[in-house]
Amino acid sequence: MTKYLILAFFIPLFSLGQSNLKVTYKSSISINLDTLKGPSDFKKSFEKAINKCELLDFNLSINSKDNISVFNRNDLVDSSITKLDLNIISLIIDSDGKFFTSKGKLIHDYYLIDKNLKVEIEDKINWSLVNEKKSIGNYECLKAVGKVHYGKHKGETIEAWYAPSIPLSFGPKMYYGLPGLILEIKEKNNIIYADKIEFLNKDIRIRTPKRDQLISEKKADSILVIMNKKAKNYFKH
């Protein structure tokens, strides 16, 4: 109930004069630990990791004049989060790297070990608008559902809540294309929710990857196949 407290204090009206936004998102993992089977030590490590999830902040910067956004996890400020914790969280949330939307196109810029990939994603989510409303902070939000079109959770159903009063079709991770800013996304095992919205008068400069740096999803998949083969062989030498 308290998660939207900060959001409630922010100005609920959007005006075209305020063309730039910074949205801080947080996430929570919703897995029933009581139903997990397995060794207690493993369960403890897993529980510790997923509880750290709420310490992570994600940032969505939007330059609406140029129709560009970038979403990424902010640098860690809490040193109690270990690499293992992050790894476990990452398996569930799948939000590594930066997600750019530029003029209606989506680009995922991330590292596979030490190899940087900038992938242009062709597919778009085919959203279905649902006649359901709820308030998030001071914003009245509408519901939409769709299927994940990219990444580890491809094909899974997601639920989005967007604010038509902020008519910017951006959102967290690879989610965009609704007639309002997405303030909450419910994925299979987690929720990503807006915690703070800042309307900025100053310009936000977003540098999207250059055209000649981009590769297709197909190319990225072929690189992943090679890297996975190397990973499988890692312990055999």
Partner: protein
């Protein structure tokens, strides 16, 4: 450290529990493999994810011992 190669990711949970019950004899590296199998039984994971998980678990376990 003994290097044990586990092929596949379908080791059953009883095997995990047996290893943990004999924690003294399971190295961090061995535990890491079982941990990765356990996580892999719940979430989709490719070989790279698994490798990173094993290396990070091993490192954390060794730092704690």
């Amino acid at each position: 450290m003994a290097v044990v190669v586990f092929v596949g990711s379908s080791i059953n949970l009883n095997a995990h529990q047996n290893v943990i019950a004999q924690e003294d004899s399971a190295s961090c590296f061995e535990q890491a493999h079982y941990f990765a199998d356990w996580i892999g039984s719940m979430f989709e994971m490719n070989a790279l994810d698994r490798l990173e998980l094993i290396l990070d678990y091993t490192e954390q376990c060794e730092n704690q011992n």
